[in-house]
Amino acid sequence: MTAFQRWAFGLTVPACLIVTALYLVPLGTVLAISVEEPVPGLGNYAGLLDSPAVARVLATTLQVTLLTCALTLVASYVVAFALVHMSGRLRQAALLMVLVPFWISVLVRAFAWMTILRRQGVINSTLAALGLITDPLELANNRIGVVIGMVHYMMPFAILLLYANLAGIDRRIMQAARSLGARPGTVLLRLWLPLSLPGIAVAAIFVFVFSLGFLITPALLGGGRTVMIAEYISVQITNTLRWGVATSLATLLLVVVGAAIFLAMRSPALRAAFEGQVRQ
């Protein structure tokens, strides 16, 4: 280490200490409550495994999250793929449109979707006016609405992650393939997709981890009938005072997310994808 490096390292210490204090200490408190209340021991964790209700909440969370993940990846890949092939000016405009939702709060977005999806909303009114439907489609206040809202929230993240990855792929490979007589479909399936797998994986993990903790979107678009883990924890903390249950669930969530990221980072290709954005 040179003197400069030591200085630079020293400058990061205060920030590290603040983060540790503000993050790890409360986290430790949460962990502590989960083994102290209502009686000391691992009873809360055992109770989680025994409870059919908790199992159902976890199942709902997993179903909604995986569905969100799948739909987000497919839709985002299409957009990112198009972005890579656009001319500079058009791409700037398109990227701007991808970024706009970032500046709108999650609450506003959920309400906007309500306006679009509800029984007398934009979609149903239009379809009814065209004579295509007689009864309104059930798009909001159920699980469909939740997934639509969550996919919309996650897409900008996934698009940017995939775009960075796709933009880094050497395009001369495609030219070589085409010159050897490969059809466009073959080029997509046998070159683009395999080469962008690390990017897809990074986006998948990101969307998965993020979606597990959704609170407002399911609560607003689900008609009160899609209860995911974050909301369940919130109810136990605020309304039923079952802090032991809440903190053990929160810890479980943290462990699952941590494990997912840890396992993912053991793959060299993924590590490269995470770090590789810098090198382009």
């Binding site: 503000l22 200490v25 409360p26 408190t29 949460v30 409550i33 059919p52 209700a53 159902r56 909440v57 709902t60 609450l107 959920a110 309400f111 309500m114 509800r118 029984r119 007398q120 909303g121 909001a140 206040n141 699980r143 609170l215 407002i216 609560a219 607003l220 008609g223 009160g224 009938r225 899609t226 209860v227 909301e231 369940y232 919130s234 109810v235 136990q236 903390i237 605020t238 309304n239 039923t240 005072l241 079952r242 802090w243």
Partner: protein, 370 residues
Amino acid sequence: MTNDTSFQQDALLVAADNLQAGRIDRRAFLTALGALGLVAAVRPGTARADVGEIVLCNWGGAAVDAFQKAFGAPFEAKTGIKLSIDGSGPAIGAVRAMVQANKVIWDVTDSGVGDSMTLGKGGFLEPIDYTIVDKSKVGPDFAVEFGVANYVYSNILAYDTSRMKNGLPTRWADFFDFDKFPGKRTMCKWIQGQLEGVLLADGVAPDKMYPLDVDRAFKKLKPHLDDIIFWESGAQSQQLFRDGEVVMGNIWHTRANLLKKESSGKFDWTWNENLLFASAWCVPKGNPAGKKVFDFINATLDPEPQIALLRAMGNGPTNPKALALMTPEDKAVYALAPDNARSHLPISAAYYTDTEAELQNKFLDLISSH
């Protein structure tokens, strides 16, 4: 309890009549995080009690001004003691955390009778000192060991008159009569006041209501879940009617009143079989102002400040003497006016003290299992 606290939270939104659904959960959750030492240190605007000051915690927004005008100003004029209002919301999780951490900054909280029993049982509250607080102002049901009722409100049956082809619904049985009254309904996600309506619809006599026959209620409810949307904040319950999502619902009377006013009567409600709740002042254990807080509480039980609050927010007086001072308009939104109280069912706070947590979770499980 959830219904008390979210109602109070709602009352201020009613007064402001602005749409902020969703924030409630987050705020309540932040408060709870504060309990874990995360936010308490950095939460802005929390009042500090010192000599000559009473700190009241309510649900913020318009309720800060309404409470200050109705309770603070007259009390200060009379005693010289200032009222400071912290609008960060006294969720039971927050009160518990504050007392457990020995950092009590609130003298009095805008809670519910049910809250007072839950928190009192846990040892987080001071008993109400009835040598200072005059019990006779509110009657026996409204003065319990750890809380004294400051206002009443109801869950009522509201409906969209424009979509009723076969007359208007008049009782909870009509809520489940999908042949006569087709269309979606809304109920509240928070348990108190929900199963009572279901059981009344199923023919349970009001005097046999408690303890609730939960299995019977669930059995009645389950086949219809696909036609019921569950609201979690009053603003949302109002929006469901406005948007035409539902034709009927179990909502708070304050919200029904706003709907009626804004739609010139297209939306209406019946006081018949209304489910009556009492809100209550609670005093966190080890409150900074000590016994002085009871002088304040006593002053809030006079008819005049209670009527001021009724006019500002629709929350009904607990002092029977207030009735004589009311206009017909006041009485129309007052749950305890003789015309409105004929068939009401008082919600049993005592029943929920021991059962609510379990029941709330069972209810959530029922409505979210497809």
